[in-house]
């Protein structure tokens, strides 16, 4: 004869396992539903500049910011320098929309160090989001927006 306590002790781990599994499933599902992707950004200081450098992008470019969402820059878009942040020179275009996307979406302006796109300036958040990895851009002089 098996004592009642013994039966209870044999069943308990199963119940515990089922409960744990249910809890994990709930947490997983909740994780899927809520903030699944966050954009890593650091506060920065923007200084506006008028009549800066201008260039044209020679090829389509995809930039990753570690959020799982790409930011794409289109070939033949015209870019003008609008200011500086400590991380580099900031450019804008009127030829396409540029956003950095995670669970939330941010308008984003490319930040360049020479021909290297190192990240984006977020004008609403006054923050910098680094490209992972930085991307070399093929560009030609001229243009204007």
């Amino acid at each position: 004869m098996i004592p009642a306590t013994s039966t209870g002790s044999r069943c308990a781990p199963v119940r515990v396992r089922v409960s744990l599994l249910a809890a994990l499933l709930c947490l997983g599902a909740a994780g899927c539903a809520f903030d699944v992707s966050r954009l890593q950004k650091t506060p920065t200081r923007f200084e506006a500049e008028q009549a800066g450098a201008e260039w044209i992008l020679n090829e389509d470019v995809t930039i990753w910011l570690g959020t799982g969402f790409p930011t794409k820059l289109r070939k033949n878009t015209h870019w003008s320098m609008v200011g500086k942040v400590p991380e580099g020179d900031v450019f804008r275009t009127h030829d396409q929309l540029v956003t950095a996307e995670a669970s939330n979406i941010y308008e984003a302006w490319p930040v360049m160090q020479a021909d290297l796109l190192v990240g984006f300036y977020l004008p609403v958040e006054h923050a910098f989001a680094a490209a992972r990895p930085p991307v070399q851009l093929a560009r030609s002089q001229g243009g204007g927006t």
């Binding site: 909740a30 899927c32 809520f34 929309l97 669970s103 979406i105 977020l122 609403v124």
Partner: protein, 146 residues
């Protein structure tokens, strides 16, 4: 068997009516556009719209810098005129989704309200779209503003 078929028909009809009731019914953009005045000097305009009927029961308020400016009604649009500056547009279901954007004087921006999967309910999220896409989308929507 006949009863079942009748019940199925009734349920389908009910579902269709519910979906239609959940959609915007105001004037279309083309009916309204003649009466649309440009934004006041120094201000820009933000069109906010939702084309997707999927998840029609989920119609959260749309906030602009924390103030409610409209509702995410399927196939509906509204617009706000605001001084040039920086803005955050947000919707709240079981989570809050935010879009950050800049607005210049006389600039017109288009914000589409998409819908994504959620745990209990769908998530309505604002996204910036380019002018050509925004104009085409808004043309199919009904005005829900006041």
């Amino acid at each position: 068997m006949r009863k079942r078929r009748h019940l199925l028909k009734s349920l389908c009809s009910l579902a269709l009516v519910t979906v239609l009731l959940g959609c915007a019914t105001g004037k279309t953009f083309s009916e309204l556009s003649g009466g649309l005045t440009p934004p006041p000097p120094g201000q820009g305009r933000i069109f906010i719209y939702r084309t997707i009927v999927l998840g029609f029961a989920v119609q959260p308020s749309v906030k602009l810098n924390g103030d409610v400016v409209g509702t995410a009604v399927p196939q509906g649009f509204f617009y706000v005129d605001r001084p040039a500056g920086v803005y955050q547009i947000s919707t709240e279901t079981e989570v809050t989704r935010t879009l950050s954007l800049t607005l210049e004087p006389e600039q017109v921006r288009y914000v589409r309200l998409g819908i994504g999967m959620g745990f209990f309910v769908g998530h309505v999220y604002p996204e910036l779209v380019d002018d050509a896409q925004g104009q085409a989308d808004v043309a199919t929507c009904h005005y829900t503003g006041t």
